[in-house]
């Protein structure tokens, strides 16, 4: 049996089922809280921090915080939107994102958020790191230049017997995604397609495939990310 509770986002009265995460509960009420590392159906991890909201005045990641009765959530406020924009800018300067030459352009959630937050030029200096492209896997190409370390691939892609295919390696600014050398061989076409699909940026690409959907007809080409939620 489900029970409905009341809470508020930016002063607007909302309803949700107990236990729902703030992000999902917002969607149900037609409110968009920007997210990047979160992905439907997979346990949330709160690592990009883009969905940060103020819960009763304290910053919390909306993707990992369950709603509670009477909760006051602040979401669409200048202070938070600037932090979100800064986070996105910092992700751009951390890697090497040359959107015009990227196969994910138009389907990329990082790019879409940058548009939504009207990022012009990052406030931070570019890092221009030297990173590899790993093409050792027969099914996918892992482009470390574009990886934003959102952990989606780690969380969502497992072998049939539940083992990790992707994992983190090292820590801090050396952090990177490591693809299992043994299990990579077991990659089915299906699993590879799923990995490329869930990657929010162009860091996991299918080999020998590309531009199946032409530029101009992609997910975020016509309307800013989140528009579908707000239309509800």
């Amino acid at each position: 049996m489900s029970t409905l509770i009341k809470f508020k986002i930016d002063g607007v009265e909302c309803m949700a089922e107990t236990g729902a995460y703030v992000v999902e509960a917002a969607v149900e009420n037609g409110i968009f809280i920007p997210t990047l590392c979160n992905i439907k159906g997979v346990k949330p991890r709160g690592s990009c921090r883009v969905c940060t909201v103020l819960v009763n005045g304290r910053p919390m990641s909306a993707c990992t915080t369950p709603v509670a009765s009477g909760m006051e959530v602040e979401n669409n406020i200048a202070e938070l939107n600037d932090i979100r924009k800064a986070i996105i800018e910092a992700l751009f300067v951390e890697g090497n994102h040359f959107c015009p030459s990227c196969e994910k352009s138009g389907n990329c959630e990082l790019q879409a958020l940058a548009y939504r937050f009207q990022m012009m030029v990052p406030r931070f200096p570019f890092d221009f790191p030297v990173r590899d492209i790993d093409a050792s896997n027969p099914k996918i190409i892992k482009d470390h230049n574009r990886c934003i370390l959102c952990k989606r691939c780690i969380r969502a892609i497992k072998t049939e017997d539940g083992k990790s295919v992707f994992a983190f390696k090292k820590r801090g600014r050396q952090l990177e995604i490591n693809v299992d050398p043994d299990l990579g061989e077991l990659f089915t076409d299906e699993l590879a397609a799923k990995a490329a699909e869930i990657c929010p940026v162009g860091a996991i690409l299918l080999r020998e495939k590309g531009y199946e959907i032409p530029i101009g007809q992609r997910k975020f080409d016509k309307e800013p990310i989140g528009s579908d939620i707000e239309k509800k």
Binding site: P44, I87, N178
Partner: protein, 602 residues
């Protein structure tokens, strides 16, 4: 090799949650973790290759490459540098004939930097194959390298006397000094191990124990200051077929070393505190998570645990209480400051990388192996024993109204008597300076609470140490007039956070680094007023990070701007409003030289 590794894996029953222990043993056996071992471990534990690498590559003291027969880790913290680390480092490099970060071609010596090793009161200090070498001088370094070249084993390399107290115990034999300068209710010599277990617990219900702890108003000593009684009550009330008590002995905050002294001189008090906590919340297992740097205490602590089992202070029906079973094991870390954060600590003890969890749920609801878990600091657990022994009213007599009891302070830096002082809460910084034999005139600043705390100047020395004013986990670093605050302290601490971030949050991973780049621009005399303002603004972004590490990583810069803004202003260009920080002439210098052209940029 394969059979050795296999033995290690089997010693831990092929249990993947013991991956840390397996890696620790392999590392200590070979001086590194060979590639073949990674595969063997993965196969035996039935996990992916990348899962083993994930844990292995996270920790500072695990290595995929040989670290040398003698692996030398020299502390690179602020106080080590104050005490003459540079000369020691140079001597190491000269005598060994290699640079830091390298291993000698014959595979004998490896030289590495490491973050604060908990010896701030006897710096410069280094770890060599897990043994601690303190008060290093260039002369001592020459002796050490001579011994190494002569093939002396590390255990025999102590030429001088051992340290005081239990440091000279047969099972420790270390040159570490306790430097206990002042004792109070916790460090009090007058303590009979087991007294609360025998005399008090049998007459109390778990609820009564929690009640006494609540009445004492004790708050956690690990830094966050959460009321201990409340934490226990939450855990007691959470349903679970098994519950755990963790003692947080990770002590990674640079400048803190009081838990080291407790582990050396009052370990029985700590173990008794854990048993009490176990009784109160209904836990059956306790784990002491000890930082890697204190591995030299391993045999000593494990022997004491055995002694406690023999005396029925651990095991079954403890203290004669029917059905009260509790035992303790020690889990070592492998070099990661973030593992002091309670949920990262738990992850690490489960054999994983020390990545903090999202909260809620809190450990009291879902902790170690997803079971209700209490995590408490070493000092907190010790205090509880004395509270139960003497009653909460007795405890409330110490300290101030909002901060009951005493606090162990780790004091180091520019002072005559660095060491551990147990004082009541409520003293002003000036009192403390006087106590440690420092003339206020010689002090420029005090770092309160380690890098994650704040850097305060003279006009704040009247502030008092307590939860409502200057709350602290107990580290105080005194910074003399002769020090260059921005270069020697702020930059070092900022680097520390960059190195120690788990990297999971985009904010902590990126913003701390970007602030450092900006700080360096200012230190390079290329900054302008707006760069200082940017630092303050960017610091706010860090506050949305998942854990305390990221949330406080900007503090060295932010608190020094707040209290020493003039140091920044002295370094910026006054005549400019904007400086891109980009020097075109400098950037094209190399290419111009290569083609023999003089750059003409006009």
């Amino acid at each position: 090799m394969a059979t050795n590794v296999q033995n290690i894996i089997e010693k831990y029953n092929k249990d993947k949650t013991r991956l840390m222990d397996i890696l620790i043993d392999v590392q200590s056996e070979y001086g590194y973790i060979p590639k073949e071992a990674i595969g063997q471990i993965a196969n035996n534990l039935d996990i992916s290759h990348v899962d083993v690498e994930q844990t292995l590559s996270f920790y500072h003291f695990f290595s995929e490459k040989p670290t040398g027969k003698y692996a030398i880790y020299l502390n690179d913290s602020v106080v080590a540098n104050m005490m003459g680390r540079q000369k020691v480092k140079e001597t190491f490099e000269k005598e060994a004939g290699i640079k830091f970060g390298e291993v000698s071609p014959d595979g004998q010596i490896g030289l590495f930097d490491t973050a604060c090793i908990g010896m701030n009161d006897q710096e410069p200090a280094a770890l060599i194959n897990g043994r601690v070498f303190t008060n290093l001088t260039p002369f001592r370094v020459k002796e050490i390298i001579r011994d190494i070249k002569g093939g002396t084993v590390v255990e025999d390399m102590f030429t001088a006397a051992y340290g005081d107290g239990e440091n000279r115990n047969e099972l420790i034999k270390s040159t570490v000094q306790n430097n206990i300068r002042k004792k109070g209710p916790i460090l009090d010599d007058d303590y009979t191990p087991g007294i609360v277990i025998w005399k008090k617990l049998p007459e109390m219900t778990p609820e009564q124990v929690i009640d006494e702890v609540k009445k004492s108003h004790i708050r956690g000593r690990g830094g966050a200051g959460f009321p201990t009684g409340l934490k226990w009550e939450f855990c007691r009330k959470t349903k679970g077929d098994k519950k755990y008590i963790f003692c947080n002995a990770d002590e990674g905050e640079p400048g803190t070393f009081k838990d080291r002294v407790i582990l050396t001189e009052r370990p029985k008090l700590l173990f008794e505190g854990m048993v009490i906590a176990g009784y109160a919340v209904g836990a059956t297992e306790g784990i002491v998570y000890v930082r890697h740097e204190y591995t030299y205490l391993k045999n000593y602590l494990e022997n004491l645990l055995q002694g406690a089992r023999d005396r029925n202070l651990l095991g079954k029906d403890i203290g004669g209480i029917k059905g009260f079973d509790f035992d303790i094991r020690i889990q070592f870390g492998a070099g990661a400051y973030v593992c002091g954060e309670e949920s990262a600590l738990i992850e690490s003890a489960e054999g994983k990388r020390g990545e903090p969890r999202d909260r809620p749920p809190f450990p009291v609801e879902k902790g170690y192996l997803d079971k209700p878990t209490v995590v408490n600091n070493v000092e907190t657990l010790c205090s509880v024993v004395k509270i139960l022994l003497n009653g909460p009213e007795w405890y409330l007599k110490f300290g101030t109204k909002d901060s009951a009891g005493s606090k162990l302070l780790s004091i180091s830096g520019d002072c005559k008597y660095p060491g551990v002082y147990e004082v009541e809460w409520g003293f002003a910084v000036t009192d403390i300076l006087e106590m440690v034999g420092t003339d206020i005139e010689d002090v420029q600043a005090v770092q309160v609470g380690g890098p994650s705390g704040s850097l305060i100047g003279k006009d704040e020395f009247a502030r008092t140490l307590c939860f409502s004013d200057l709350a602290t986990g107990g580290s105080l670093i005194i910074i003399g007039k002769q020090r260059d605050i921005l270069n020697d302290i702020v930059l070092n601490f900022t680097d520390f956070f960059i190195d120690e971030s788990c990297g999971s949050c985009s904010t902590c991973r990126n913003i701390t680094h970007l602030m450092k780049v900006k700080l360096e621009k200012i230190l390079d005399a290329r900054g302008v007023e707006n760069d200082i303002n940017d630092l303050v603004e960017w610091g706010k972004i860090l506050k949305v990070s998942r854990c305390g590490l990221g949330q406080t990583a900007g503090n060295p810069i932010l608190t020094s701007i707040k209290n020493f803004r003039y140091l920044y202003e002295e370094k910026i260009q006054k005549d400019k409003e904007y400086d891109s920080g980009f020097d075109l002439a400098e950037s094209v210098k190399d290419s111009c030289e290569a083609v023999g052209r003089i750059p003409n940029l006009n």
